[in-house]
């Protein structure tokens, strides 16, 4: 089938098998390998993307469901040559180790901060609890999201 979508800001028209998993479509057909797969069954959050601004698991989505949607992957998060404040804060606060959870983690955090600009540490932990990280113990990730929230509120562009 043919679908229309806005992918990382660019309108696209694509012919896809309607039952193609979105994670495969993005990684294999479109080369957006920043989208990761860790479990394939909705349990780890590494495949998180933004669909119309909301965090969704691309391993559980099918291509047909994307028709008419606005998609953001980690590759499309930086704007005008600048990192998103969450990306910058992940670097500054040491939230990246192996980095395999990082794209999904960052997008889940972006979704949170869009909904809730003043999250407590506890709220950040709740919002990220669907995203597994085996390397960091989460603390520096929570630090990073706190930092990003503060900078975004202060209007810093990091």
């Amino acid at each position: 089938m043919k679908i229309h979508l806005i992918l990382n800001g660019t309108p696209r028209e694509m012919k896809v098998a309607p039952d193609r998993r979105v994670v495969d479509l993005l990684r294999e057909d479109l080369g957006l390998t920043g989208v990761k797969e860790g479990c394939g069954s909705g349990e780890c959050g590494t495949c998180t993307i933004l669909v119309d601004g909301e965090a969704r698991l691309s391993c559980l989505l099918l291509a047909a469901q994307l028709d008419g949607c606005r998609l953001t992957t980690i590759e499309g998060l930086a704007q005008d040559g600048r990192l998103h404040p969450v990306q910058q804060a992940f670097i500054d606060q040491g939230a990246v180790q192996c980095g395999y959870c990082t794209p999904g983690m960052i997008l889940a955090a972006v979704d949170l901060l869009n909904r809730q600009p003043h999250p407590t540490r506890e709220a950040i932990r709740v919002a990220l609890s669907g995203n597994l990280c085996r390397c960091t113990g989460y603390q520096m990730i929570v630090d990073a999201v706190e930092t990003a929230a503060r900078r975004m509120r202060e209007g810093e562009d990091a």
Partner: protein, 779 residues
Amino acid sequence: MTERSARPELGPPQSPMLEIGASVPRADAWAKVIGAEHYAIDHYPLGLLWAGARRAGLAHARLRGVAIEAARALPGVVAVLTAADVPGTNRQGIVHKDQPVLVEDHVRHWGDPVALVLAEDRETLRRALALVEPDLEPLPGVFDIAAALRPDAPTLHPGGNVLLEAEISTGDTASAWDVCAAIVEGTFDLPFQDHGFLETQNGVAQVEPDGILTLTVSTQAPFRDRFEIAHALGLDPLRIRVISPYLGGAFGGKDGATVQCLLALAALHVGGRPVKMVWEREECMIAGYKRHAARLCYRLGALTNGTLHALDCQLYFDTGAYAHLGGEVMELGLEHAGGPYRIAHTRMRGWAVYTNNPIGGAMRGFGVCQASFGFERMLDRLAAALGRDRLDLRRQNALRRGDRNAAGVTLVHSTGLAACLETLSRHPLWLERDRWPDQAPPLKRRGVGVAAVFNAMGYGRGLPDAAIAKIALTPDGRFRVDSAVSDMGQGNASAFAQIAGQILCQRADAIELVQPDTARALPSGSSSAGRTTYSYGNALVRACEALRAKLLHRASLLLMVDEPSGLALLPGRVRHLPTGRDLPLARLAAMLPETDRVSIEQFVMPVSQEVPDTGKAFVIGFPHVLFAYAAHLAYVEIDTLTGKLEVCRYLAVTDGGRVLNPRNFDQQIQGAVAQGIGYALCEELRLQEGRILNPDFARYLLPTSLDVPDIASLAVATVEDTGPFGMKGIGEVGINGPLPAIASAVEAALGRCPSQSPLEPRRLVAEVAAPSASDDAPR
């Protein structure tokens, strides 16, 4: 603060000076936050084929044959291979070569591969794998250590079910018990743990036009992989090239062959086409290596004044179907079985035993993680028996530099345990520990626990722990480090950049890091054993110093000064200090032939000069001489109705020598503690006759952001003279503390603690319900 400037294009910010001791951002962070880093799994070469293994699906069986015709007939299937198609020995294994690439006739565990399928796409591969029919005759299996050791047990390997049996002893345990004022005993059981890395085992392979077999694999040991593949498939190791990009986690689980031999075998059969193999999560759980399940039997005695005096223990490790590093894991567990304490008389015996369970292999903590539960439970019980404070008893017996450890080895290197315990004892979390249980809400019990742990570094005697570093001045005046040890997330590559930046006085953007490629770098051992940064870093220090000396000498020729003493390396240039003249490094590079711009140096880790009259069964490994130490403290709260345990506060004090990068140091400690909390509370492979009942993240639960508290990490100020800039490896030690510290806290809260881990709600509820709980709880 970081400097900020509007940049026309997306690029890393103005790069910082790479100074040792500073929390410089990791070299890999930028590419990882924009999704640009290419892991092995992100490689999709043009025209690739997909490879997959058909797993046996029975834990113990005779394989009478494999019906492959139906799969082969499926359109899109390129080849279906069985053991008959494997050239060479068909055997892989790091030390013991006992694991077939494809099973010939004896299936020894559920995930044993019986056929390899190659297909044009993944959907066809999936269907073809289901069409492969192994003809299996079930055999009676052995599914735990006790069953494997019975005289009439079915045997898995020609030599029987004992892979290795060994003893380490000192003093005279026969008579030592008589003078002990208190003797405590305990038996402890620990389950298999999965590494839970998020990037599953995967890679791509291709025979290049020049005949070189090239693999890009998520691996911890690219150099060793060549020899494993060559041995298994009868190839020339020097005609195999392995590239190891940044890994999406590993923790020991990608040390040794996973996809390598299967991929190589596949590549040999498809006339130069690239082949890709990715294990799905369930396959990763079923076929991947695990932390060994273990049973520990302990007896520890002390004198009236609290001096530890005698230890007798037996450690049994379930290595599953194949050896992998089972003997070496047992060795390290045994060497640490006495804890980080002085004990004059010890008799420590160990067994690594084959069963039809999943394969036990390397995992962070490598045998020590299990032993730590045993010796620290003993210390707590001894403290209770003697009426002593738990921390005080540990401080009294803590190993110091110059002591002999419980394995009889003299500690001639940095030994900072006493400093760790001292720091912990002055921390508010310890000083205010009594307030925690006193403020427990209704229906909750609270406790505070402590643990002292240690972990050896390096391979130990018998296998030189060596690394060869290579650094070059590039034509554009930057420096390129050809790393030879994989970065699985621990940040060693960034440490290498920091070392080079410090010695060569360069900013981050002047240091280019190339991840391991056997065609460019030089053999340097594996990314493991707390030796990654230590060994390669030491070699790199030498290489950088040699390169600096060489470049200053060459610069003196170009600047026509008499000798290089007035020359200094500065970011991007050499300056002649007496005259202030600058020579840009790019210009210097342009004057030098490539061979003159490179520096290659090696380092070999020191080994024990003592030859202990014990541990003779260990050909490699025993003894070690370098150790990292730690003291951990945990605050827990237990719901008396549900048994749910929450770790509320946590402190880890670590002796890892000098800290090269405080933030990266804390990353390692926090990550290890989190993984240790999972091991303590919930992670357990559930097995039924060798079949894993929870082979996914829905049923095998990893700690989430809600299960791990903020972790305070402190470093003590020791310096390891033999380490690069005084550091020691700390990748392992942090995981050894959480289980014993949490168990200690549980005992403080409930008056007792299960001797079986993980400390799950059902086990804790049983303790709450047991009579006389909470009497004489330690404080």
